[in-house]
Structure formats: structure tokens, C-alpha cells
Amino acid sequence: MDARELIARRIARELKDGQVVNLGIGLPTKVANYIPDDVEILLQSENGFIGIGPVPPEGQFDKDLINAGNQYVTVKPGACFFDSAVSFGIIRGGHVDTTVLGTLEVDQEGNVASYIIPGKLIAGMGGAMDLCTGSKRVIIATTHTDKHGRPKVLKKCRLPLTASREANLIVTDLAVMERTEEGLVLRETAPGVTVEEILAKTEAELIVPDDVQVMKT
């Protein structure tokens, strides 16, 4: 299993029947592929609907139906459309149970930096600030280190923040970490990965309890 599939599979297990979920662009979108058949999730798309369905067969797209990542999608039975103010009323008002978001950096306080590298990458925050601030639970989906092998789970984010103290769970290809009142707690290690390896590749101060589990996917 590659790193991205591992992360997506693990996050899928966090989603409960009946929840309203927003999956961010990229890796988070893949989470939808691993939701068990007996779990019904309502996927919200911040550009204005609830009920994202699968990607349509090649050439059968509807010009008026994309997700927030600019991909043509379909909708499931029971879907509904609305305008952008209603969409973010749903998000800001706490009616999204879980948001899954990729990031550039995340830190032990739950700060998230995902939208800009000044002078280099200028994407814009899109709906990510509202999603992090408004959702009941924020799950960060990220590789544990960047392409240069540098830690992405930091003591303190260095890039401009998307949201302050909003990340609840961090799922990487190496570990599952939970933000608590006491600090960032290591909950699970990926199969074949040692606690020592995780600590070596993590800048954040990790609390390591006695009962760290092996990640199930």
C-alpha cells in the first residue's frame, strides 16, 4: 500500500454513519474510495451542494456539476444544491461533522498552514479557513515529511496560518496523532514503523502513552 492510500484508508475509518463530511482537494478526496458500504456519509462540496457521488464515466460529465477541486462529479440520490452563502452557513454554523484537509505544515497546538508559501506558492485559502474554523472536527491528511524528508508536523507553524488551534487529528503515512489539552499524543504507528522512527521524523513534541496501537486500515 502506498503512503497516500494508507492515509486515506485510515481516515475513512474515522467517518461515522450519517456524518456530514467535507473532503479537501487532493489526498483527502481519495478518502471517499475507502468508506465501507454500510456507512452512509454525506459529502459536502463547498461550491454548493451535499451528496457528492462518484466521478462520471469518461465523456459523460455535466458541465454544471463540479466539486470544489474542479473535477466533474455526480450526485447521489438525496443530494441538494444551494448558493455559496448557504454553503458557508452550513460550514461556519457547525453543521459539517468532519473536514479532512491536506496541509503544508501542522503543529502541536493544532495550527494549520496550508494555503501559501510567500513568494513561492500562492494558491489562496479558498474555503479552507472557514472549513477548519467551522467544522466540528478537523482531520489533517499529510505525508509525515515533505519531499526533502523534512518534518511537516512542527512545534510551531512557520508559514501563514489557515486556522489557529483547529486541527483535532493528524493522520500521516507513519502515525496517527491526536491534539489534546495536554499536547499532541501519538495514538497509532503505521504497520512496521517504530515509535523511534516517528519521533526522529517529527519536530513537534509528541506525548507517547503506553498504549500506542498499530494503525488499522
Binding site: D62, I66, F81, D83, S84, F88, M129, D130
Partner: protein, 215 residues
């Protein structure tokens, strides 16, 4: 009150320096014919308010390509490298605001709300220069309404008085922007007689619309 007109007549009221809201999300729900006519009209020094910058050659991206923008207010330009480069090179003044705040500011502009408190952006650069208010233990930013001179709107169905119905995810910013601008032009895929639309299905009252062109 028949508001159907020609595209040339509709865009002729737009002048240099105008602020223009362009509806759509990654060009879905963007009135492409109106964008083309805006560029062809030769106006410049525009303030553009749009969810994103489209891509080079589509939607608002075409206006970026035309270099007739003085100021761009948006929330995401990640799929338009031309826009990113113009911004990095200091050629284009881009203001990034959160998408939900953008939608709510436009709604406030249309609905006579003088400002509103949102938790979005607290503790980020979005907070800079804004009043922070604590309500029942939580910090909020005071955000102000956003209005503009012109709105370019895309509808699925319009009646000749301007009542509009949008389709699927092409709704997005369309009904909001139409409420917040002085002069509202609609590019409609289907134009029908007054009375043909179900009054319960209409998503934007015709009173907000000034001109309709065939899309």
C-alpha cells in the same frame, strides 16, 4: 418590464475603473459571453471580485490575460499560474479573502447589513487591520459588506422580467452577486416569457436584474 437586450447594449454601460463581480466557481456558472464582451469593449482599470481566477483562457482567467485589472479580490488563484505570476511580479494587486467570508460579505452588501462577525480568520493574516470582538467568550472578526458597480451573472433559465433559476453547482455566487451590484447583467441559457417559471422554483427575484442576454 422586458429586460432582454443585446450583449453590446448590455456591456456598453460598463466604464473604466468600474468594480465588477463575476459569478462562477472555476468557470462553472460564469457568463463566458459577457466576459468576452467585457474584454472586447476595451474597458480597463477594473476591480474584479470573483471566487477564483479560473484558468488561463477560461472564465475570469481571460480577464487576467487581458491585463485590464487594477485590483483583484478573490479567494483562490491556484489553478491560474498566469495570475500567480502577475501577483508575484507585482503587476497585479491581489487581495485574498476566505471563501465563506467573501460569500457573506457579498450577501451583506445586498441585504443592507453593515457588517458581521465571523470566527473565520481569527489568528491568521486575515485578522490584520480588522476589529476583533469577543462575544460570549469567542473571538470574531468584524467583516464589512462588499458591493460593486456591475455583476456578470449566468443563469440556466430567465424570464423576461429577470426572475432566474440556476442549475446544480452553477448556482454558487450567482444569486448573491446579483443582489450586491448597481447594474446586473444576466447571460441566460434559456429566456422565457413572464409567467413560465414556477414562482416556488425561482432562485433570484427579477427586481435585482437590469439586463438579460441570450447565452
Amino acid at each position: 418590464m422586458d429586460k432582454v437586450t443585446t450583449i453590446d447594449a448590455a456591456v456598453s454601460r460598463i466604464t473604466d475603473g468600474d468594480s465588477i463581480m463575476i459569478a462562477g466557481f472555476m468557470s462553472v456558472g460564469t457568463p463566458e459571453l459577457l466576459v468576452d464582451a467585457l474584454i472586447a469593449s476595451g474597458v480597463k482599470d477594473l476591480t474584479i471580485i470573483c471566487n477564483d481566477a479560473g484558468t488561463p483562457g477560461t472564465g475570469a482567467g481571460k480577464i487576467v490575460d487581458a491585463r485590464i485589472i487594477r485590483k483583484y479580490i478573490t479567494n483562490h488563484i491556484g489553478l491560474n499560474p498566469v495570475c500567480g505570476k502577475q501577483m508575484s511580479d507585482g503587476e497585479l494587486d491581489v487581495t485574498l479573502i476566505p471563501q465563506g467570508t467573501m460569500a457573506e460579505r457579498i450577501r451583506a452588501g445586498g441585504a443592507g447589513i453593515g457588517g458581521f462577525l465571523t470566527p473565520t480568520g481569527v489568528g491568521t493574516v486575515v485578522q490584520q487591520g480588522k476589529q476583533v470582538m469577543n462575544i460570549e467568550g469567542r473571538d470574531y472578526l468584524l467583516e464589512l459588506p462588499l458591493k460593486a458597480d456591475v455583476a456578470l451573472i449566468k443563469a440556466h433559465r430567465a424570464d423576461r422580467s429577470g426572475n432566474l433559476i440556476f442549475r446544480k453547482s452553477a448556482q454558487n455566487f450567482n444569486p448573491l452577486m446579483a443582489t450586491a451590484c448597481e447594474y446586473v447583467i444576466v447571460e441566460a441559457e434559456h429566456i422565457e416569457d413572464v409567467g413560465c417559471l414556477d414562482p416556488d422554483a425561482i432562485m433570484l427575484p427579477g427586481i435585482f436584474v437590469d439586463a438579460i442576454i441570450q447565452g
